[in-house]
Subunit: 180 residues, 2 copies
Amino acid sequence: MPKELKDEGQSLKAFMLLHRTRDLLFRCQDRAVAEFGLTAEQYSVLLAIEYLDDPVRATDIGRWMERKVNSISMIVDRMVKAGLVERIRDLPDRRAVRVVFTSKGKRAFELATPEVWKLIDEMFSPLPHEEKRTLIRLLETLRERALKHLNPGTDVRAIATYGTDDASRLLKRMRRYTPQ
Amino acid sequence: MPKELKDEGQSLKAFMLLHRTRDLLFRCQDRAVAEFGLTAEQYSVLLAIEYLDDPVRATDIGRWMERKVNSISMIVDRMVKAGLVERIRDLPDRRAVRVVFTSKGKRAFELATPEVWKLIDEMFSPLPHEEKRTLIRLLETLRERALKHLNPGTDVRAIATYGTDDASRLLKRMRRYTPQ
């Protein structure tokens, strides 16, 4: 039996595992959407466009994904080149640019969604309902702390996206594209 | 009160939260190491070199980080350009290349480690010991499932790195660079 880790060792282990588990899930997701000409990152951007209300700007996608706008803009650039999305400059504020699906992007999203769904289902199947709730609670605690760290002095509950209502709504959106 | 999510909604929410929490922690880590001229990814590679026994090849780093060798090689390329690591071709197998710290890379690693340590400590401080153990157990379950998915038919326990012994060893290595 390995010795029990002290508390600081547990923190380090949990930190490393969080990174690795997410990276591995990301690789699984990359594989699941590759046959539709998408990367996992591109799928996430399409999901954000599907989820958010039009007009969707890169800043909106960034806010929803809790990512920097810069990195979203770079992903969107590549997606424009790949013909998955278009940038349209038709908002009252002429500097604002909205990002929309092309028909190719929409089709890829429709085909990829059931595969992503199947993957999520498979990945979480070993965890009983109660354990999923525990995982969610623990991750929310960590996320809140990270948001506090990145935005000192602000009310992180106001900027945190993806509460339970969002999850219900996202579920409905994804369900449009998955067999019942 | 928001309605309780059904089981599939919980899986989706846990999946999204895992991505976001990790991305946010990564941003915190990027910020913590930026003043030493490093990105969070580069710090992880330096940590792998520190942790693994010489000779350390890109494949060894990839295996330990559970990442594809391709992506590790790309990170190492940029780190060579930044003067943080060197590639040395002096192994009996002339095709094999080992990756070593430069003195600049070593120094950056030494200075960044206490900051990373402080960050991990801060991030996990809201979780009592018992909750950290629960989080580790849940993440290990997910990771095992993801490894199975990526490597069907193989014994994932044999390829999974980072058990408790590894954590103790990593802790010791990091502790060399942090004030006691």
